[in-house]
């Protein structure tokens, strides 16, 4: 089990290959990347994430515990990046290895839903014409 909040780019390869194990036949992963939305002539230039630590670290671990209680999984890794994340770059990576594919799929999806529910992490979309705190609609866009 591996849970991490970090400022540096996420090492996706290490996360996924780290989940391979002879007792597991399935590795499901989810990676959230910065989507460069457009609206009229404006566009998202990057995202900026902040986290309340160590509460956010604890919540990632709790999500891992919830998964282990609900499904038969061999390995769970959840990594969330904070700071500036450019378009096409990963902000979150979830990797679940399990003996069989159903729990791997279900647990990886559960993990991202739970992150969006309980992890104290916030995303600011920085547009070409201002910014907006996602979820709060607080910002400076016209």
């Amino acid at each position: 089990m591996f849970f991490q909040i970090l400022k540096e780019p996420i090492d996706v390869k290490a996360l996924i290959t780290g989940a391979f194990h002879p007792k597991c036949g399935a590795v499901a992963s989810f990676i959230g990347t910065t989507r460069a939305d457009e609206s009229g002539s404006a566009r998202v230039e990057y995202l900026e994430y902040e986290a309340y630590r160590p509460m956010a670290d604890k919540k990632l671990e709790e999500i891992g515990e919830e998964i282990s209680e609900r499904w038969k999984v061999g390995y769970v890794a959840i990594v969330h990046r904070i700071g500036k994340v450019d378009p096409g770059e990963p902000s979150v990576a979830i990797v679940v290895a399990a003996p069989r594919r159903e729990p791997a799929f279900e647990a990886s999806r559960y993990a991202i839903e739970r992150i969006k529910e309980i992890a104290p992490i916030w995303k600011r979309e920085v547009w070409s014409d201002g910014y907006v705190w996602v979820g709060s609609q607080v910002g400076t866009r016209p």
């Binding site: 969006k116 104290p120 709060s136």
Partner: protein, 82 residues
């Protein structure tokens, strides 16, 4: 009288114009009472009230939960990780 450390995040920090403050309390208050003091000092937070969650010492807490001197309170706008 002593202090509670209050951290603000995301849109709440943005609205209040601060990321951290101290609120003076008399030993033990409810989170609701602490909020009243904080809202007086940072009225720009008031319109966000319905959307905010709170944590005491790193765990989600309700308005009727107590806060003691030395505790850390966090003001949490709707989370948007992922």
């Amino acid at each position: 009288m002593s202090d509670v450390k209050v951290l603000l995040f995301g849109a709440a920090a943005d609205r209040a114009g601060i990321r951290q403050t101290k609120v003076r309390i008399n030993h033990v208050v409810t989170l609701g009472e602490l909020w009243s003091v904080l809202a007086d000092q940072h009225p720009h937070l008031i319109p966000m009230r319905e959307t905010l969650a709170f944590a005491v010492n790193g765990e989600y807490a309700r308005m009727e939960d107590t806060v003691s001197t030395g505790d850390e309170v966090a003001v949490l706008p709707p989370v948007s990780g992922g």
